[in-house]
Symmetry: C2
Protein backbone atom coordinates (compact mmCIF):
# COMPACT_ATOMS: atom_id res chain seq x y z
CA UNK A 1 0.00 0.00 0.00
CA UNK A 2 1.96 3.03 -1.24
CA UNK A 3 -0.15 5.48 0.75
CA UNK A 4 0.48 3.87 4.12
CA UNK A 5 2.28 6.31 6.41
CA UNK A 6 5.49 5.47 8.22
CA UNK A 7 4.61 5.18 11.86
CA UNK A 8 7.05 4.57 14.69
CA UNK A 9 6.12 2.13 17.46
CA UNK A 10 7.12 3.77 20.72
CA UNK A 11 5.49 2.50 23.87
CA UNK A 12 6.70 3.85 27.17
CA UNK A 13 6.29 2.41 30.62
CA UNK A 14 2.59 2.61 31.54
CA UNK A 15 2.62 2.02 35.29
CA UNK A 16 4.86 3.12 38.15
CA UNK A 17 4.99 2.02 41.76
CA UNK A 18 4.98 4.58 44.57
CA UNK A 19 4.83 4.21 48.35
CA UNK A 20 1.79 5.66 50.12
CA UNK A 21 0.36 5.82 53.63
CA UNK A 22 -3.14 4.47 54.14
CA UNK A 23 -5.68 5.74 56.68
CA UNK A 24 -4.28 3.46 59.38
CA UNK A 25 -0.81 4.97 58.89
CA UNK A 26 0.55 1.83 57.25
CA UNK A 27 2.94 2.06 54.29
CA UNK A 28 1.74 0.44 51.09
CA UNK A 29 3.01 0.03 47.55
CA UNK A 30 0.65 1.50 44.96
CA UNK A 31 0.62 1.39 41.18
CA UNK A 32 -0.15 4.68 39.42
CA UNK A 33 -0.60 5.33 35.71
CA UNK A 34 2.15 7.23 33.96
CA UNK A 35 1.07 10.54 32.44
CA UNK A 36 3.40 12.36 30.10
CA UNK A 37 3.21 15.35 27.79
CA UNK A 38 3.39 14.71 24.06
CA UNK A 39 3.89 17.75 21.86
CA UNK A 40 2.63 17.30 18.32
CA UNK A 41 4.43 19.19 15.58
CA UNK A 42 3.26 19.29 11.98
CA UNK A 43 6.01 19.76 9.40
CA UNK A 44 8.18 21.21 12.15
CA UNK A 45 5.56 23.60 13.52
CA UNK A 46 4.31 23.04 17.08
CA UNK A 47 0.56 22.41 17.22
CA UNK A 48 -0.55 21.18 20.65
CA UNK A 49 0.59 19.33 23.78
CA UNK A 50 -1.53 16.36 24.88
CA UNK A 51 -1.23 14.56 28.20
CA UNK A 52 -1.18 10.81 27.64
CA UNK A 53 -0.39 7.45 29.18
CA UNK A 54 1.79 6.83 26.15
CA UNK A 55 0.31 3.59 24.83
CA UNK A 56 -0.23 3.60 21.05
CA UNK A 57 0.71 7.24 20.77
CA UNK A 58 1.11 7.11 17.01
CA UNK A 59 -2.57 6.17 16.80
CA UNK A 60 -3.39 8.92 19.28
CA UNK A 61 -1.71 11.48 17.03
CA UNK A 62 -3.40 10.14 13.92
CA UNK A 63 -6.85 10.10 15.54
CA UNK A 64 -6.37 13.49 17.18
CA UNK A 65 -5.51 15.07 13.84
CA UNK A 66 -8.56 13.51 12.21
CA UNK A 67 -10.97 14.38 15.03
CA UNK A 68 -9.71 17.97 14.99
CA UNK A 69 -10.34 18.05 11.20
CA UNK A 70 -6.65 18.67 10.53
CA UNK A 71 -6.48 15.61 8.28
CA UNK A 72 -9.25 13.77 6.48
CA UNK A 73 -7.49 10.56 5.64
CA UNK A 74 -4.39 8.56 6.46
CA UNK A 75 -3.18 9.52 2.96
CA UNK A 76 -2.54 13.04 4.24
CA UNK A 77 0.20 11.67 6.51
CA UNK A 78 3.70 10.87 5.32
CA UNK A 79 5.08 9.86 8.73
CA UNK A 80 4.53 10.10 12.47
CA UNK A 81 7.58 9.68 14.70
CA UNK A 82 7.28 9.62 18.48
CA UNK A 83 10.37 10.35 20.57
CA UNK A 84 9.75 9.91 24.29
CA UNK A 85 13.18 11.31 25.17
CA UNK A 86 11.85 14.71 24.10
CA UNK A 87 8.10 14.02 24.45
CA UNK A 88 7.60 14.89 20.81
CA UNK A 89 5.46 13.58 17.97
CA UNK A 90 6.83 14.76 14.64
CA UNK A 91 4.17 14.59 11.94
CA UNK A 92 5.16 14.96 8.33
CA UNK A 93 2.30 15.69 5.94
CA UNK A 94 2.18 14.95 2.24
CA UNK A 95 2.25 18.06 0.05
CA UNK A 96 -1.28 17.31 -1.18
CA UNK A 97 -2.62 17.86 2.30
CA UNK A 98 -1.16 21.30 2.70
CA UNK A 99 -4.25 23.36 2.07
CA UNK A 100 -6.07 21.64 4.94
CA UNK A 101 -3.09 22.18 7.21
CA UNK A 102 -2.66 25.85 6.46
CA UNK A 103 -5.36 26.88 8.89
CA UNK A 104 -4.93 23.97 11.29
CA UNK A 105 -3.01 25.99 13.83
CA UNK A 106 -5.59 28.73 13.65
CA UNK A 107 -8.43 26.29 14.32
CA UNK A 108 -6.86 24.73 17.37
CA UNK A 109 -5.91 28.14 18.64
CA UNK A 110 -9.31 29.73 18.43
CA UNK A 111 -11.52 27.08 19.89
CA UNK A 112 -9.54 24.30 21.48
CA UNK A 113 -11.87 24.19 24.50
CA UNK A 114 -11.05 20.90 26.13
CA UNK A 115 -9.00 19.80 23.19
CA UNK A 116 -11.60 20.09 20.47
CA UNK A 117 -12.62 22.56 17.81
CA UNK A 118 -16.12 22.71 19.13
CA UNK A 119 -17.64 25.63 17.25
CA UNK A 120 -16.55 23.98 14.07
CA UNK A 121 -17.97 20.63 15.09
CA UNK A 122 -21.40 22.11 15.66
CA UNK A 123 -21.41 23.67 12.24
CA UNK A 124 -20.49 20.39 10.59
CA UNK A 125 -23.09 18.31 12.39
CA UNK A 126 -25.27 18.01 9.31
CA UNK A 127 -22.32 16.84 7.24
CA UNK A 128 -21.70 13.69 9.28
CA UNK A 129 -22.79 10.70 7.17
CA UNK A 130 -24.31 8.15 9.55
CA UNK A 131 -25.64 4.75 8.56
CA UNK A 132 -29.36 4.00 8.60
CA UNK A 133 -30.92 2.09 11.44
CA UNK A 134 -31.05 -0.89 9.06
CA UNK A 135 -27.24 -1.02 8.70
CA UNK A 136 -26.19 -0.34 12.27
CA UNK A 137 -27.99 -2.46 14.84
CA UNK A 138 -27.17 -3.87 18.27
CA UNK A 139 -28.91 -6.72 20.05
CA UNK A 140 -29.36 -6.85 23.81
CA UNK A 141 -27.30 -10.07 23.85
CA UNK A 142 -24.41 -8.31 22.07
CA UNK A 143 -24.66 -5.33 24.42
CA UNK A 144 -24.47 -7.56 27.49
CA UNK A 145 -21.52 -9.41 25.97
CA UNK A 146 -19.73 -6.09 25.30
CA UNK A 147 -20.15 -5.14 28.97
CA UNK A 148 -18.81 -8.54 30.00
CA UNK A 149 -15.77 -8.21 27.71
CA UNK A 150 -15.00 -4.69 28.88
CA UNK A 151 -14.87 -5.85 32.48
CA UNK A 152 -11.92 -8.02 31.42
CA UNK A 153 -10.19 -5.27 29.42
CA UNK A 154 -9.42 -2.67 32.03
CA UNK A 155 -6.04 -3.93 33.18
CA UNK A 156 -4.52 -0.53 33.97
CA UNK A 157 -7.69 0.74 35.59
CA UNK A 158 -7.80 -2.27 37.88
CA UNK A 159 -4.10 -2.02 38.73
CA UNK A 160 -3.85 1.73 39.11
CA UNK A 161 -7.19 3.48 38.49
CA UNK A 162 -7.28 7.00 37.04
CA UNK A 163 -7.59 5.96 33.42
CA UNK A 164 -10.44 5.67 30.93
CA UNK A 165 -11.08 2.74 28.64
CA UNK A 166 -12.36 2.84 25.07
CA UNK A 167 -13.06 0.03 22.62
CA UNK A 168 -14.54 -0.70 19.20
CA UNK A 169 -16.88 -3.64 18.59
CA UNK A 170 -18.49 -5.28 15.59
CA UNK A 171 -21.54 -6.88 17.14
CA UNK A 172 -20.04 -8.47 20.25
CA UNK A 173 -16.61 -8.93 18.61
CA UNK A 174 -13.87 -6.78 20.13
CA UNK A 175 -11.79 -5.14 17.37
CA UNK A 176 -9.60 -2.69 19.34
CA UNK A 177 -9.29 -1.60 22.95
CA UNK A 178 -7.20 1.02 24.73
CA UNK A 179 -6.78 2.75 28.09
CA UNK A 180 -5.46 6.28 28.55
CA UNK A 181 -5.53 9.11 31.10
CA UNK A 182 -8.28 10.95 29.19
CA UNK A 183 -11.53 9.74 27.66
CA UNK A 184 -10.73 11.97 24.68
CA UNK A 185 -7.41 10.22 24.09
CA UNK A 186 -9.22 6.88 24.13
CA UNK A 187 -11.59 7.85 21.33
CA UNK A 188 -8.76 9.50 19.39
CA UNK A 189 -6.65 6.30 19.59
CA UNK A 190 -9.56 4.14 18.41
CA UNK A 191 -10.09 6.68 15.59
CA UNK A 192 -6.41 6.39 14.66
CA UNK A 193 -6.72 2.60 14.64
CA UNK A 194 -9.77 2.76 12.33
CA UNK A 195 -7.98 5.18 10.03
CA UNK A 196 -4.75 3.18 9.82
CA UNK A 197 -6.57 -0.11 9.19
CA UNK A 198 -9.25 1.33 6.91
CA UNK A 199 -12.06 0.19 9.21
CA UNK A 200 -15.37 2.00 8.66
CA UNK A 201 -17.60 2.94 11.57
CA UNK A 202 -20.96 2.17 9.96
CA UNK A 203 -21.69 -1.17 11.61
CA UNK A 204 -19.57 -0.67 14.73
CA UNK A 205 -20.25 0.13 18.39
CA UNK A 206 -17.96 2.41 20.37
CA UNK A 207 -17.61 1.67 24.08
CA UNK A 208 -16.21 4.20 26.56
CA UNK A 209 -15.92 4.32 30.32
CA UNK A 210 -16.22 8.11 30.04
CA UNK A 211 -19.22 10.38 29.86
CA UNK A 212 -21.05 10.97 26.60
CA UNK A 213 -20.42 14.69 26.34
CA UNK A 214 -21.03 16.66 23.16
CA UNK A 215 -17.42 16.34 22.08
CA UNK A 216 -17.35 12.57 22.61
CA UNK A 217 -20.57 11.97 20.65
CA UNK A 218 -19.31 14.23 17.87
CA UNK A 219 -16.06 12.29 17.57
CA UNK A 220 -17.97 9.03 17.13
CA UNK A 221 -20.29 10.57 14.54
CA UNK A 222 -17.36 12.08 12.65
CA UNK A 223 -16.04 8.55 12.18
CA UNK A 224 -19.38 7.14 11.05
CA UNK A 225 -20.10 5.31 14.32
CA UNK A 226 -23.76 5.61 15.25
CA UNK A 227 -23.92 3.38 18.35
CA UNK A 228 -22.17 4.35 21.60
CA UNK A 229 -22.15 2.58 24.96
CA UNK A 230 -20.89 4.32 28.09
CA UNK A 231 -20.30 3.00 31.58
CA UNK A 232 -21.03 6.58 32.58
CA UNK A 233 -23.81 9.10 31.86
CA UNK A 234 -24.73 11.67 29.23
CA UNK A 235 -24.77 15.47 29.18
CA UNK A 236 -27.45 17.55 27.48
CA UNK A 237 -25.20 18.33 24.53
CA UNK A 238 -24.23 14.70 24.02
CA UNK A 239 -27.91 13.79 24.13
CA UNK A 240 -29.00 16.58 21.78
CA UNK A 241 -26.31 15.69 19.24
CA UNK A 242 -27.27 12.02 19.45
CA UNK A 243 -30.94 12.86 18.79
CA UNK A 244 -30.09 15.31 15.99
CA UNK A 245 -27.78 12.86 14.23
CA UNK A 246 -30.05 9.84 14.71
CA UNK A 247 -27.52 7.97 16.84
CA UNK A 248 -28.13 5.30 19.45
CA UNK A 249 -26.69 6.10 22.89
CA UNK A 250 -26.54 3.77 25.88
CA UNK A 251 -25.29 4.88 29.29
CA UNK A 252 -24.94 3.68 32.88
CA UNK A 253 -24.07 0.38 31.24
CA UNK A 254 -22.47 -2.15 33.59
CA UNK A 255 -23.11 -5.78 34.41
CA UNK A 256 -26.68 -6.43 33.23
CA UNK A 257 -27.97 -2.88 33.55
CA UNK A 258 -28.09 -0.04 31.02
CA UNK A 259 -30.20 2.89 29.86
CA UNK A 260 -30.98 3.65 26.22
CA UNK A 261 -30.98 7.45 25.98
CA UNK A 262 -31.96 7.70 22.34
CA UNK A 263 -32.15 5.69 19.11
CA UNK A 264 -33.93 2.58 20.44
CA UNK A 265 -34.93 1.76 16.85
CA UNK A 266 -31.43 0.32 16.27
CA UNK A 267 -31.71 -1.87 19.35
CA UNK A 268 -32.99 -5.45 19.14
CA UNK A 269 -34.19 -6.53 22.52
CA UNK A 270 -34.45 -10.26 22.97
CA UNK A 271 -37.38 -11.34 25.06
CA UNK A 272 -35.09 -13.61 27.05
CA UNK A 273 -31.86 -11.76 27.68
CA UNK A 274 -30.37 -14.64 29.62
CA UNK A 275 -30.72 -16.91 26.55
Amino acid sequence: MPDAPTVSAADGQLLREIEVLDESGARRALQIPVERPLTISINGRELVTLMTLGARSELLVLGYLRNQRIIDSVKDIKSIRIDWATGSAAVSLRPTANEIKADARHQVGTACGLGTVFGDLMMRVDAAPLPSAGTARLSSAALLRILEIMREYDAIHRAAGSVHGCALFHGADLLASIEDVSRHNGVDIITGWMLLHGVAGADKTLFTTGRLTGEMVMKAAHNGVSIMVSRNGVTSMGYDLGVKLGMTLFGRAAKSRYLCYTGAERFDRESDISG
Copy 2:
Protein backbone atom coordinates in the same frame (compact mmCIF):
# COMPACT_ATOMS: atom_id res chain seq x y z
CA MET B 1 -13.02 48.73 46.28
CA PRO B 2 -12.17 50.61 43.07
CA ASP B 3 -10.35 47.64 41.56
CA ALA B 4 -13.27 45.23 41.78
CA PRO B 5 -14.34 44.14 38.31
CA THR B 6 -17.90 44.36 37.05
CA VAL B 7 -19.16 40.83 36.82
CA SER B 8 -22.56 39.75 35.52
CA ALA B 9 -24.49 37.05 37.36
CA ALA B 10 -25.89 34.73 34.73
CA ASP B 11 -26.90 31.26 35.82
CA GLY B 12 -28.59 29.03 33.30
CA GLN B 13 -30.71 25.96 33.89
CA LEU B 14 -28.42 23.22 35.23
CA LEU B 15 -30.52 20.08 34.81
CA ARG B 16 -32.87 18.77 32.14
CA GLU B 17 -35.24 15.85 32.12
CA ILE B 18 -35.21 13.33 29.28
CA GLU B 19 -37.09 10.06 28.76
CA VAL B 20 -35.00 6.88 28.54
CA LEU B 21 -35.58 3.15 28.24
CA ASP B 22 -34.05 0.93 30.92
CA GLU B 23 -32.78 -2.62 30.44
CA SER B 24 -36.27 -4.05 31.05
CA GLY B 25 -37.68 -1.87 28.24
CA ALA B 26 -39.52 0.40 30.67
CA ARG B 27 -39.68 4.15 30.04
CA ARG B 28 -38.19 6.33 32.76
CA ALA B 29 -37.63 10.02 33.35
CA LEU B 30 -33.97 10.87 33.85
CA GLN B 31 -32.22 14.08 34.87
CA ILE B 32 -29.12 14.98 32.88
CA PRO B 33 -26.71 17.86 33.44
CA VAL B 34 -26.81 20.68 30.94
CA GLU B 35 -23.57 21.21 29.01
CA ARG B 36 -23.16 24.34 26.94
CA PRO B 37 -20.35 26.03 25.03
CA LEU B 38 -19.05 29.32 26.41
CA THR B 39 -16.77 31.28 24.11
CA ILE B 40 -14.43 33.64 25.95
CA SER B 41 -13.41 36.81 24.15
CA ILE B 42 -10.82 39.23 25.48
CA ASN B 43 -11.31 42.84 24.41
CA GLY B 44 -13.39 41.59 21.47
CA ARG B 45 -10.91 38.93 20.37
CA GLU B 46 -12.01 35.29 20.57
CA LEU B 47 -9.76 33.21 22.84
CA VAL B 48 -11.26 29.78 23.58
CA THR B 49 -14.52 27.84 23.88
CA LEU B 50 -15.10 25.95 27.12
CA MET B 51 -17.83 23.38 27.72
CA THR B 52 -19.57 24.08 31.01
CA LEU B 53 -22.64 23.37 33.12
CA GLY B 54 -23.08 27.14 33.34
CA ALA B 55 -23.12 27.65 37.11
CA ARG B 56 -20.94 30.55 38.26
CA SER B 57 -19.55 31.08 34.79
CA GLU B 58 -18.12 34.48 35.64
CA LEU B 59 -15.91 32.77 38.22
CA LEU B 60 -15.06 30.09 35.67
CA VAL B 61 -13.83 32.74 33.24
CA LEU B 62 -11.87 34.56 35.95
CA GLY B 63 -10.24 31.36 37.22
CA TYR B 64 -9.56 30.05 33.71
CA LEU B 65 -7.74 33.26 32.76
CA ARG B 66 -5.65 33.10 35.92
CA ASN B 67 -4.83 29.39 35.64
CA GLN B 68 -3.80 29.91 32.02
CA ARG B 69 -1.52 32.79 33.15
CA ILE B 70 -3.48 35.26 31.05
CA ILE B 71 -4.16 37.43 34.10
CA ASP B 72 -2.31 37.59 37.42
CA SER B 73 -4.87 39.38 39.52
CA VAL B 74 -8.50 40.43 39.54
CA LYS B 75 -7.19 43.97 39.01
CA ASP B 76 -6.39 43.05 35.41
CA ILE B 77 -10.12 42.65 34.74
CA LYS B 78 -12.44 45.55 34.05
CA SER B 79 -15.55 43.45 33.41
CA ILE B 80 -16.81 39.98 32.57
CA ARG B 81 -20.24 39.72 30.96
CA ILE B 82 -21.85 36.37 30.23
CA ASP B 83 -24.65 36.19 27.66
CA TRP B 84 -26.19 32.74 27.41
CA ALA B 85 -28.29 33.75 24.40
CA THR B 86 -25.07 33.77 22.39
CA GLY B 87 -22.94 31.54 24.68
CA SER B 88 -20.40 34.30 25.05
CA ALA B 89 -18.24 35.64 27.86
CA ALA B 90 -17.00 39.12 27.01
CA VAL B 91 -13.94 39.99 29.06
CA SER B 92 -12.74 43.56 29.15
CA LEU B 93 -9.20 44.02 30.46
CA ARG B 94 -7.76 47.14 32.05
CA PRO B 95 -5.12 48.86 29.88
CA THR B 96 -2.43 48.06 32.47
CA ALA B 97 -2.85 44.37 31.77
CA ASN B 98 -2.25 44.62 28.05
CA GLU B 99 1.30 43.36 27.90
CA ILE B 100 0.29 40.07 29.52
CA LYS B 101 -2.59 39.71 27.11
CA ALA B 102 -0.58 40.34 23.97
CA ASP B 103 0.70 36.79 23.84
CA ALA B 104 -2.28 35.15 25.51
CA ARG B 105 -3.79 33.95 22.28
CA HIS B 106 -0.47 32.57 21.20
CA GLN B 107 -0.07 30.61 24.44
CA VAL B 108 -3.47 28.96 24.27
CA GLY B 109 -2.92 28.22 20.62
CA THR B 110 0.40 26.50 20.94
CA ALA B 111 -0.17 24.24 23.89
CA CYS B 112 -3.79 24.10 24.88
CA GLY B 113 -3.65 20.32 25.34
CA LEU B 114 -6.69 19.59 27.43
CA GLY B 115 -7.26 23.26 28.05
CA THR B 116 -4.00 24.14 29.72
CA VAL B 117 -0.71 25.74 28.76
CA PHE B 118 1.22 22.76 29.97
CA GLY B 119 4.72 23.39 28.68
CA ASP B 120 4.60 26.75 30.32
CA LEU B 121 3.35 25.31 33.60
CA MET B 122 6.26 22.92 33.82
CA MET B 123 8.75 25.72 33.32
CA ARG B 124 7.17 27.79 36.08
CA VAL B 125 7.03 24.99 38.64
CA ASP B 126 9.86 26.46 40.68
CA ALA B 127 8.16 29.84 40.77
CA ALA B 128 5.08 28.63 42.68
CA PRO B 129 5.27 30.02 46.23
CA LEU B 130 3.89 27.34 48.55
CA PRO B 131 3.49 27.66 52.32
CA SER B 132 5.71 25.71 54.70
CA ALA B 133 4.46 22.57 56.39
CA GLY B 134 4.10 24.69 59.53
CA THR B 135 1.50 27.00 57.92
CA ALA B 136 -0.55 24.50 56.00
CA ARG B 137 -1.62 21.48 58.02
CA LEU B 138 -4.55 19.09 58.03
CA SER B 139 -5.67 16.81 60.84
CA SER B 140 -7.20 13.40 60.24
CA ALA B 141 -10.36 14.62 62.00
CA ALA B 142 -10.64 17.56 59.58
CA LEU B 143 -9.99 15.29 56.60
CA LEU B 144 -12.76 12.89 57.66
CA ARG B 145 -15.11 15.83 58.19
CA ILE B 146 -14.29 17.16 54.70
CA LEU B 147 -15.23 13.80 53.21
CA GLU B 148 -18.48 13.80 55.22
CA ILE B 149 -19.36 17.33 54.05
CA MET B 150 -18.60 16.56 50.41
CA ARG B 151 -21.00 13.64 50.48
CA GLU B 152 -23.73 16.23 51.17
CA TYR B 153 -22.56 18.66 48.51
CA ASP B 154 -22.98 16.74 45.30
CA ALA B 155 -26.57 17.62 44.48
CA ILE B 156 -26.21 17.56 40.70
CA HIS B 157 -24.06 14.45 40.73
CA ARG B 158 -26.68 12.62 42.77
CA ALA B 159 -29.54 13.84 40.59
CA ALA B 160 -27.91 13.45 37.21
CA GLY B 161 -24.35 12.11 37.45
CA SER B 162 -21.73 13.09 34.86
CA VAL B 163 -20.36 16.08 36.77
CA HIS B 164 -17.32 16.70 38.96
CA GLY B 165 -17.33 18.45 42.31
CA CYS B 166 -14.68 20.79 43.68
CA ALA B 167 -14.51 22.64 47.00
CA LEU B 168 -12.23 24.80 49.13
CA PHE B 169 -11.84 24.22 52.87
CA HIS B 170 -10.14 26.00 55.77
CA GLY B 171 -9.58 23.17 58.19
CA ALA B 172 -12.95 21.42 58.08
CA ASP B 173 -14.84 24.64 57.24
CA LEU B 174 -16.34 24.68 53.74
CA LEU B 175 -15.64 28.02 52.02
CA ALA B 176 -16.83 27.39 48.46
CA SER B 177 -18.19 24.43 46.51
CA ILE B 178 -19.13 23.89 42.87
CA GLU B 179 -20.11 21.18 40.41
CA ASP B 180 -19.38 21.31 36.67
CA VAL B 181 -19.04 18.97 33.69
CA SER B 182 -15.24 19.03 33.87
CA ARG B 183 -12.87 18.67 36.81
CA HIS B 184 -10.83 21.49 35.27
CA ASN B 185 -13.82 23.84 35.32
CA GLY B 186 -14.34 23.03 39.00
CA VAL B 187 -10.81 24.09 39.97
CA ASP B 188 -11.03 27.13 37.70
CA ILE B 189 -14.30 28.25 39.36
CA ILE B 190 -12.81 27.83 42.86
CA THR B 191 -9.78 29.80 41.64
CA GLY B 192 -12.08 32.56 40.38
CA TRP B 193 -13.86 32.63 43.75
CA MET B 194 -10.54 32.94 45.60
CA LEU B 195 -9.43 35.72 43.27
CA LEU B 196 -12.67 37.70 43.48
CA HIS B 197 -12.82 37.45 47.28
CA GLY B 198 -9.09 37.89 47.88
CA VAL B 199 -8.80 34.52 49.62
CA ALA B 200 -5.25 33.15 49.78
CA GLY B 201 -4.54 29.45 49.34
CA ALA B 202 -1.81 29.07 51.95
CA ASP B 203 -3.86 27.46 54.74
CA LYS B 204 -6.56 25.91 52.56
CA THR B 205 -7.38 22.43 51.33
CA LEU B 206 -8.73 21.83 47.83
CA PHE B 207 -11.12 18.90 47.40
CA THR B 208 -11.94 17.42 43.99
CA THR B 209 -13.88 14.36 42.85
CA GLY B 210 -11.53 14.27 39.85
CA ARG B 211 -8.14 12.71 39.36
CA LEU B 212 -4.99 14.46 40.52
CA THR B 213 -3.34 14.81 37.13
CA GLY B 214 -0.36 17.08 36.52
CA GLU B 215 -2.58 19.93 35.36
CA MET B 216 -4.87 19.71 38.40
CA VAL B 217 -1.97 19.70 40.88
CA MET B 218 -0.35 22.60 39.05
CA LYS B 219 -3.54 24.68 39.23
CA ALA B 220 -3.71 24.21 43.02
CA ALA B 221 -0.03 25.09 43.41
CA HIS B 222 -0.41 28.17 41.20
CA ASN B 223 -2.97 29.46 43.70
CA GLY B 224 -0.83 28.72 46.74
CA VAL B 225 -2.84 25.68 47.84
CA SER B 226 -0.54 22.93 49.09
CA ILE B 227 -3.07 20.34 50.31
CA MET B 228 -5.32 18.46 47.88
CA VAL B 229 -7.85 15.72 48.56
CA SER B 230 -9.31 13.64 45.73
CA ARG B 231 -12.09 11.07 45.73
CA ASN B 232 -10.14 9.65 42.79
CA GLY B 233 -6.51 8.66 42.14
CA VAL B 234 -3.26 10.27 41.03
CA THR B 235 -1.21 10.08 37.84
CA SER B 236 2.58 9.99 37.75
CA MET B 237 2.80 13.63 36.75
CA GLY B 238 0.44 14.78 39.49
CA TYR B 239 2.51 12.78 41.96
CA ASP B 240 5.87 14.06 40.68
CA LEU B 241 4.70 17.67 40.77
CA GLY B 242 3.35 17.19 44.31
CA VAL B 243 6.67 15.76 45.47
CA LYS B 244 8.70 18.44 43.68
CA LEU B 245 6.60 21.28 45.09
CA GLY B 246 6.39 19.84 48.61
CA MET B 247 2.62 19.47 48.48
CA THR B 248 0.40 17.07 50.41
CA LEU B 249 -1.81 14.88 48.22
CA PHE B 250 -4.57 12.56 49.39
CA GLY B 251 -6.47 10.27 47.05
CA ARG B 252 -9.06 7.47 47.02
CA ALA B 253 -10.63 9.49 49.82
CA ALA B 254 -14.21 8.49 50.64
CA LYS B 255 -16.04 7.64 53.84
CA SER B 256 -13.32 6.79 56.36
CA ARG B 257 -10.67 5.67 53.88
CA TYR B 258 -7.92 7.57 52.13
CA LEU B 259 -4.34 7.29 50.91
CA CYS B 260 -1.66 9.92 51.51
CA TYR B 261 0.47 9.93 48.34
CA THR B 262 3.01 12.48 49.48
CA GLY B 263 3.60 15.23 52.05
CA ALA B 264 2.59 13.33 55.21
CA GLU B 265 4.57 15.90 57.24
CA ARG B 266 1.61 18.31 56.96
CA PHE B 267 -0.81 15.66 58.21
CA ASP B 268 -1.69 15.34 61.91
CA ARG B 269 -3.01 11.91 62.56
CA GLU B 270 -5.04 11.58 65.74
CA SER B 271 -4.63 8.29 67.50
CA ASP B 272 -8.39 8.00 67.91
CA ILE B 273 -9.97 9.11 64.67
CA SER B 274 -13.47 8.48 65.98
CA GLY B 275 -12.93 11.01 68.81
